[in-house]
Protein backbone atom coordinates (compact mmCIF):
# COMPACT_ATOMS: atom_id res chain seq x y z
CA UNK A 1 0.00 0.00 0.00
CA UNK A 2 1.37 3.41 -0.85
CA UNK A 3 2.08 5.72 2.02
CA UNK A 4 -0.17 8.60 2.58
CA UNK A 5 1.88 10.45 5.08
CA UNK A 6 5.48 10.78 6.16
CA UNK A 7 6.96 12.33 9.25
CA UNK A 8 10.49 13.54 8.68
CA UNK A 9 12.49 13.86 11.86
CA UNK A 10 15.72 15.80 11.80
CA UNK A 11 18.66 13.56 12.54
CA UNK A 12 21.44 16.13 12.48
CA UNK A 13 23.80 16.17 15.43
CA UNK A 14 22.17 19.30 16.77
CA UNK A 15 18.70 17.81 16.86
CA UNK A 16 19.95 14.46 18.06
CA UNK A 17 21.56 16.27 20.90
CA UNK A 18 18.21 17.74 21.83
CA UNK A 19 16.70 14.31 21.86
CA UNK A 20 15.35 13.82 18.38
CA UNK A 21 16.07 10.11 18.64
CA UNK A 22 13.56 9.85 21.44
CA UNK A 23 11.06 11.88 19.47
CA UNK A 24 11.48 9.51 16.58
CA UNK A 25 10.83 6.58 18.86
CA UNK A 26 7.70 8.13 20.34
CA UNK A 27 6.34 8.94 16.92
CA UNK A 28 6.95 5.42 15.69
CA UNK A 29 5.38 3.94 18.77
CA UNK A 30 2.33 6.17 18.43
CA UNK A 31 1.84 5.27 14.80
CA UNK A 32 2.14 1.63 15.63
CA UNK A 33 -0.37 1.87 18.44
CA UNK A 34 -2.80 3.53 16.07
CA UNK A 35 -2.13 0.71 13.68
CA UNK A 36 -1.17 3.14 10.96
CA UNK A 37 2.30 1.79 10.23
CA UNK A 38 1.28 0.78 6.71
CA UNK A 39 0.01 4.19 5.84
CA UNK A 40 2.27 6.51 7.70
CA UNK A 41 6.01 6.34 7.85
CA UNK A 42 8.41 8.00 10.23
CA UNK A 43 11.96 8.48 9.10
CA UNK A 44 15.05 10.28 10.11
CA UNK A 45 16.61 12.65 7.63
CA UNK A 46 19.63 14.87 7.60
CA UNK A 47 19.84 18.30 9.11
CA UNK A 48 17.18 20.87 8.29
CA UNK A 49 19.56 23.62 9.24
CA UNK A 50 17.24 25.32 11.68
CA UNK A 51 19.14 24.03 14.68
CA UNK A 52 17.96 26.84 16.92
CA UNK A 53 14.49 25.36 17.02
CA UNK A 54 15.29 21.68 17.06
CA UNK A 55 14.21 18.97 17.19
CA UNK A 56 12.31 19.48 14.02
CA UNK A 57 9.54 17.26 12.67
CA UNK A 58 8.11 17.89 9.26
CA UNK A 59 4.83 16.32 8.20
CA UNK A 60 4.44 15.64 4.52
CA UNK A 61 2.62 16.02 2.24
CA UNK A 62 0.74 18.36 4.54
CA UNK A 63 3.86 20.47 4.61
CA UNK A 64 3.64 21.31 8.26
CA UNK A 65 6.86 22.23 10.00
CA UNK A 66 6.97 21.54 13.72
CA UNK A 67 9.72 22.96 15.87
CA UNK A 68 11.07 22.18 19.32
CA UNK A 69 9.26 18.88 19.46
CA UNK A 70 9.66 16.96 22.67
CA UNK A 71 8.28 13.58 23.64
CA UNK A 72 4.99 14.97 24.81
CA UNK A 73 4.35 17.01 21.75
CA UNK A 74 5.40 14.08 19.62
CA UNK A 75 2.59 12.09 21.18
CA UNK A 76 0.26 14.96 20.49
CA UNK A 77 1.34 15.16 16.88
CA UNK A 78 0.38 11.53 16.44
CA UNK A 79 -2.92 11.83 18.27
CA UNK A 80 -4.02 15.07 16.72
CA UNK A 81 -2.30 15.55 13.41
CA UNK A 82 -1.69 12.05 12.20
CA UNK A 83 -4.91 10.52 13.34
CA UNK A 84 -7.29 13.40 13.25
CA UNK A 85 -5.77 15.76 10.78
CA UNK A 86 -5.66 18.58 13.29
CA UNK A 87 -2.55 20.66 13.26
CA UNK A 88 -0.84 21.03 16.61
CA UNK A 89 -0.76 24.80 16.61
CA UNK A 90 1.52 25.39 19.56
CA UNK A 91 4.41 23.53 17.98
CA UNK A 92 4.33 25.48 14.79
CA UNK A 93 7.02 28.07 14.32
CA UNK A 94 5.91 31.42 15.58
CA UNK A 95 7.46 34.47 14.07
CA UNK A 96 8.62 36.42 17.10
CA UNK A 97 7.91 39.84 15.68
CA UNK A 98 4.46 39.32 14.29
CA UNK A 99 3.42 36.52 16.63
CA UNK A 100 2.15 34.84 13.53
CA UNK A 101 2.22 31.05 13.29
CA UNK A 102 3.85 29.93 10.10
CA UNK A 103 3.17 26.27 9.44
CA UNK A 104 5.04 25.94 6.17
CA UNK A 105 8.77 25.74 6.02
CA UNK A 106 9.02 27.96 2.99
CA UNK A 107 7.19 30.81 4.63
CA UNK A 108 9.47 30.94 7.67
CA UNK A 109 11.83 33.86 7.25
CA UNK A 110 14.76 31.64 8.11
CA UNK A 111 14.20 29.73 4.91
CA UNK A 112 12.71 32.47 2.78
CA UNK A 113 15.86 33.80 1.22
CA UNK A 114 17.66 30.52 1.00
CA UNK A 115 18.44 28.74 -2.21
CA UNK A 116 19.45 25.24 -1.35
CA UNK A 117 21.85 23.65 -3.80
CA UNK A 118 24.49 21.99 -1.70
CA UNK A 119 21.93 21.33 0.98
CA UNK A 120 19.28 20.33 -1.53
CA UNK A 121 18.69 16.89 -0.10
CA UNK A 122 19.22 17.66 3.56
CA UNK A 123 16.00 17.10 5.39
CA UNK A 124 14.45 15.49 2.39
CA UNK A 125 15.91 12.08 1.96
CA UNK A 126 16.77 9.26 4.28
CA UNK A 127 20.56 9.51 4.37
CA UNK A 128 20.89 5.82 4.99
CA UNK A 129 18.99 4.80 1.89
CA UNK A 130 20.68 5.17 -1.44
CA UNK A 131 17.45 4.59 -3.37
CA UNK A 132 16.05 7.82 -2.08
CA UNK A 133 19.12 9.62 -3.23
CA UNK A 134 18.79 8.09 -6.65
CA UNK A 135 15.13 9.07 -6.70
CA UNK A 136 16.21 12.63 -6.06
CA UNK A 137 18.25 12.47 -9.26
CA UNK A 138 21.28 11.23 -7.36
CA UNK A 139 24.03 9.80 -9.49
CA UNK A 140 22.24 11.06 -12.58
CA UNK A 141 24.93 13.63 -13.00
CA UNK A 142 27.56 10.94 -12.76
CA UNK A 143 25.67 8.85 -15.25
CA UNK A 144 25.40 11.72 -17.67
CA UNK A 145 29.04 12.55 -17.29
CA UNK A 146 30.15 9.00 -17.85
CA UNK A 147 27.97 8.33 -20.83
CA UNK A 148 27.63 11.63 -22.59
CA UNK A 149 30.59 13.81 -21.77
CA UNK A 150 34.34 13.84 -22.15
CA UNK A 151 36.46 14.80 -19.18
CA UNK A 152 37.26 18.06 -20.94
CA UNK A 153 33.60 18.86 -21.27
CA UNK A 154 33.05 18.23 -17.58
CA UNK A 155 35.89 20.55 -16.66
CA UNK A 156 34.55 23.11 -19.09
CA UNK A 157 31.08 23.13 -17.60
CA UNK A 158 32.46 23.42 -14.08
CA UNK A 159 34.70 26.23 -15.24
CA UNK A 160 31.90 28.08 -16.94
CA UNK A 161 29.64 27.75 -13.93
CA UNK A 162 32.09 29.91 -11.98
CA UNK A 163 32.11 27.55 -9.02
CA UNK A 164 34.83 28.43 -6.53
CA UNK A 165 36.14 26.27 -3.74
CA UNK A 166 33.96 26.47 -0.68
CA UNK A 167 36.67 25.51 1.73
CA UNK A 168 38.31 28.81 2.31
CA UNK A 169 40.53 30.12 -0.42
CA UNK A 170 37.86 30.34 -3.06
CA UNK A 171 40.02 28.98 -5.84
CA UNK A 172 38.08 28.35 -9.05
CA UNK A 173 37.20 24.68 -9.00
CA UNK A 174 37.31 24.17 -12.73
CA UNK A 175 40.85 25.50 -12.98
CA UNK A 176 41.94 23.23 -10.19
CA UNK A 177 40.49 20.22 -11.93
CA UNK A 178 42.10 21.23 -15.16
CA UNK A 179 45.51 21.57 -13.50
CA UNK A 180 45.23 18.10 -12.04
CA UNK A 181 44.00 16.69 -15.31
CA UNK A 182 46.98 18.17 -17.11
CA UNK A 183 49.53 16.90 -14.62
CA UNK A 184 51.35 13.87 -15.84
CA UNK A 185 50.91 10.70 -13.88
CA UNK A 186 49.31 7.34 -14.26
CA UNK A 187 47.85 7.43 -10.78
CA UNK A 188 45.89 10.41 -9.56
CA UNK A 189 43.78 10.98 -6.52
CA UNK A 190 40.72 12.89 -5.51
CA UNK A 191 40.39 13.94 -1.92
CA UNK A 192 37.24 15.16 -0.32
CA UNK A 193 38.17 17.45 2.50
CA UNK A 194 35.72 17.04 5.32
CA UNK A 195 38.09 18.11 8.04
CA UNK A 196 36.00 20.96 9.17
CA UNK A 197 37.88 22.42 12.03
CA UNK A 198 36.54 25.93 12.37
CA UNK A 199 35.02 26.53 15.69
CA UNK A 200 31.50 27.46 14.83
CA UNK A 201 31.13 25.99 11.40
CA UNK A 202 29.44 22.74 10.72
CA UNK A 203 28.02 22.85 7.22
CA UNK A 204 30.20 20.08 5.91
CA UNK A 205 29.19 17.80 8.69
CA UNK A 206 25.57 18.51 8.03
CA UNK A 207 25.92 17.70 4.37
CA UNK A 208 27.68 14.45 5.16
CA UNK A 209 25.09 13.53 7.70
CA UNK A 210 22.15 14.55 5.64
CA UNK A 211 23.28 13.69 2.15
CA UNK A 212 26.31 11.47 2.29
CA UNK A 213 26.35 10.34 -1.31
Amino acid sequence: MPLRMELLVCGGTGCQASNSNKVLEVLRQGIKEANLQDEVRVLMTGCFGFCEKGPIVKVMPDNIFYVEVDEESARKIVAEHVIKGRIVEEKIYKEPKTEERLPEQSSIPFYKKQIRIALRNCGKIDPENINEYIAADGYMALARVLTEMTPEEVIDIVKRSGLRGRGGGGFPTGLKWEATRKSKGDVKYVICNADEGDPGAFMDRSILEGDPH
Binding site: T13, G14, A17, E196, P199, G200, F202, R205
Partner: protein
Protein backbone atom coordinates in the same frame (compact mmCIF):
# COMPACT_ATOMS: atom_id res chain seq x y z
CA UNK B 1 60.09 -11.26 20.70
CA UNK B 2 60.06 -8.02 22.47
CA UNK B 3 58.04 -7.70 25.64
CA UNK B 4 55.35 -5.09 25.94
CA UNK B 5 54.10 -3.94 29.26
CA UNK B 6 50.43 -3.82 28.30
CA UNK B 7 47.36 -6.04 28.35
CA UNK B 8 48.11 -8.96 26.08
CA UNK B 9 44.57 -9.67 25.00
CA UNK B 10 44.14 -6.11 23.90
CA UNK B 11 47.48 -6.19 22.17
CA UNK B 12 46.45 -9.24 20.21
CA UNK B 13 43.24 -7.47 19.25
CA UNK B 14 45.30 -4.61 17.91
CA UNK B 15 47.62 -6.98 16.10
CA UNK B 16 44.70 -8.63 14.37
CA UNK B 17 43.44 -5.28 13.27
CA UNK B 18 46.82 -4.30 11.83
CA UNK B 19 47.16 -7.67 10.13
CA UNK B 20 43.75 -7.21 8.54
CA UNK B 21 44.81 -3.99 6.84
CA UNK B 22 45.36 -4.30 3.15
CA UNK B 23 47.63 -1.34 2.97
CA UNK B 24 50.04 -0.55 5.77
CA UNK B 25 51.40 2.55 4.15
CA UNK B 26 49.65 5.59 5.48
CA UNK B 27 47.66 3.53 7.95
CA UNK B 28 49.29 4.98 11.05
CA UNK B 29 46.56 7.38 12.07
CA UNK B 30 43.85 4.78 11.62
CA UNK B 31 45.86 2.30 13.67
CA UNK B 32 46.43 4.80 16.47
CA UNK B 33 42.74 5.54 16.39
CA UNK B 34 41.96 1.86 16.77
CA UNK B 35 44.57 1.43 19.48
CA UNK B 36 43.07 4.24 21.49
CA UNK B 37 39.67 2.66 21.07
CA UNK B 38 41.05 -0.60 22.45
CA UNK B 39 43.28 0.71 25.21
CA UNK B 40 41.54 3.95 25.99
CA UNK B 41 44.82 5.77 25.54
CA UNK B 42 48.16 5.27 23.89
CA UNK B 43 50.77 3.99 26.32
CA UNK B 44 54.39 4.05 25.19
CA UNK B 45 54.58 0.33 24.59
CA UNK B 46 51.51 0.33 22.42
CA UNK B 47 53.08 3.00 20.25
CA UNK B 48 56.27 1.01 20.12
CA UNK B 49 54.36 -2.08 19.11
CA UNK B 50 52.61 -0.17 16.35
CA UNK B 51 55.89 1.24 15.10
CA UNK B 52 57.49 -2.18 14.79
CA UNK B 53 54.38 -3.72 13.34
CA UNK B 54 54.07 -1.05 10.67
CA UNK B 55 57.79 -0.92 10.05
CA UNK B 56 58.17 2.73 10.91
CA UNK B 57 60.22 4.43 13.58
CA UNK B 58 58.95 4.91 17.09
CA UNK B 59 59.84 8.58 16.82
CA UNK B 60 57.47 8.97 13.90
CA UNK B 61 54.64 7.30 15.78
CA UNK B 62 55.31 9.50 18.77
CA UNK B 63 55.50 12.60 16.59
CA UNK B 64 52.15 11.79 15.05
CA UNK B 65 50.50 10.80 18.33
CA UNK B 66 51.53 14.09 19.91
CA UNK B 67 50.44 16.12 16.91
CA UNK B 68 46.77 15.24 16.90
CA UNK B 69 44.70 16.41 19.79
CA UNK B 70 42.47 13.37 19.53
CA UNK B 71 45.22 11.11 20.82
CA UNK B 72 46.13 10.95 24.44
CA UNK B 73 48.97 9.34 26.29
CA UNK B 74 47.32 9.66 29.66
CA UNK B 75 44.90 7.02 30.89
CA UNK B 76 41.38 8.26 30.52
CA UNK B 77 38.60 8.22 33.07
CA UNK B 78 35.62 5.95 32.61
CA UNK B 79 33.68 8.87 31.28
CA UNK B 80 35.16 11.56 29.12
CA UNK B 81 33.69 15.00 29.50
CA UNK B 82 34.33 17.29 26.61
CA UNK B 83 33.46 20.93 26.86
CA UNK B 84 33.00 22.55 23.50
CA UNK B 85 35.18 25.63 23.13
CA UNK B 86 34.03 26.56 19.69
CA UNK B 87 33.34 30.23 19.16
CA UNK B 88 29.61 29.90 19.51
CA UNK B 89 29.97 28.06 22.80
CA UNK B 90 32.70 30.38 23.96
CA UNK B 91 30.62 33.50 23.48
CA UNK B 92 27.89 31.78 25.43
CA UNK B 93 30.11 31.12 28.41
CA UNK B 94 31.57 27.66 27.84
CA UNK B 95 34.71 28.68 29.71
CA UNK B 96 32.69 29.18 32.86
CA UNK B 97 31.08 25.77 32.46
CA UNK B 98 34.53 24.25 32.13
CA UNK B 99 35.68 26.04 35.26
CA UNK B 100 32.70 24.68 37.14
CA UNK B 101 33.37 21.12 36.03
CA UNK B 102 37.01 21.43 36.94
CA UNK B 103 36.04 22.79 40.31
CA UNK B 104 33.46 20.12 40.89
CA UNK B 105 35.92 17.34 40.05
CA UNK B 106 38.97 19.11 41.40
CA UNK B 107 41.07 18.36 38.34
CA UNK B 108 42.83 20.14 35.55
CA UNK B 109 42.03 20.07 31.90
CA UNK B 110 43.11 16.86 30.23
CA UNK B 111 43.43 15.03 33.53
CA UNK B 112 41.57 12.18 35.11
CA UNK B 113 39.67 12.59 38.36
CA UNK B 114 41.05 10.78 41.39
CA UNK B 115 38.30 8.19 41.38
CA UNK B 116 39.14 7.35 37.78
CA UNK B 117 35.60 8.18 36.75
CA UNK B 118 36.07 11.30 34.66
CA UNK B 119 38.50 12.94 32.32
CA UNK B 120 37.85 16.54 31.39
CA UNK B 121 38.89 17.96 28.10
CA UNK B 122 37.92 20.63 25.66
CA UNK B 123 37.31 20.37 21.98
CA UNK B 124 36.71 22.73 19.15
CA UNK B 125 33.13 22.64 18.07
CA UNK B 126 30.98 19.57 18.02
CA UNK B 127 28.83 21.31 15.46
CA UNK B 128 25.85 21.80 17.71
CA UNK B 129 26.25 25.54 17.90
CA UNK B 130 22.52 26.02 18.13
CA UNK B 131 22.66 24.47 21.56
CA UNK B 132 25.64 26.41 22.84
CA UNK B 133 27.18 26.02 25.28
CA UNK B 134 27.59 22.33 24.77
CA UNK B 135 29.07 19.66 26.99
CA UNK B 136 29.60 16.17 25.70
CA UNK B 137 29.93 13.18 27.98
CA UNK B 138 31.00 9.97 26.22
CA UNK B 139 29.43 11.19 23.01
CA UNK B 140 26.17 12.25 24.60
CA UNK B 141 25.55 15.91 24.00
CA UNK B 142 24.14 18.25 26.60
CA UNK B 143 23.03 21.52 25.16
CA UNK B 144 22.37 24.95 26.68
CA UNK B 145 24.22 23.93 29.79
CA UNK B 146 24.05 26.27 32.73
CA UNK B 147 26.52 26.37 35.57
CA UNK B 148 23.94 24.96 37.92
CA UNK B 149 23.35 21.99 35.60
CA UNK B 150 26.91 20.75 35.93
CA UNK B 151 26.47 18.81 39.11
CA UNK B 152 23.36 17.11 37.84
CA UNK B 153 25.08 16.00 34.65
CA UNK B 154 28.03 14.60 36.57
CA UNK B 155 25.74 12.83 39.02
CA UNK B 156 24.17 10.92 36.14
CA UNK B 157 27.47 9.14 35.74
CA UNK B 158 28.32 8.77 39.36
CA UNK B 159 26.19 5.74 40.22
Amino acid sequence: MAKYDVDEVKLRQLEEYIDSLEQKEGALIGVLYKAQEIFGYLPKDVQLFIARKLGITAAKVYGVATFYSYFTMEPRGKHVINVCMGTACFVKGADKILEEIKKELDIKEGNMSKDGLFTVDTLRCVGACGLAPVVMVDGKVYGRVKIEDVKGILDEYRE
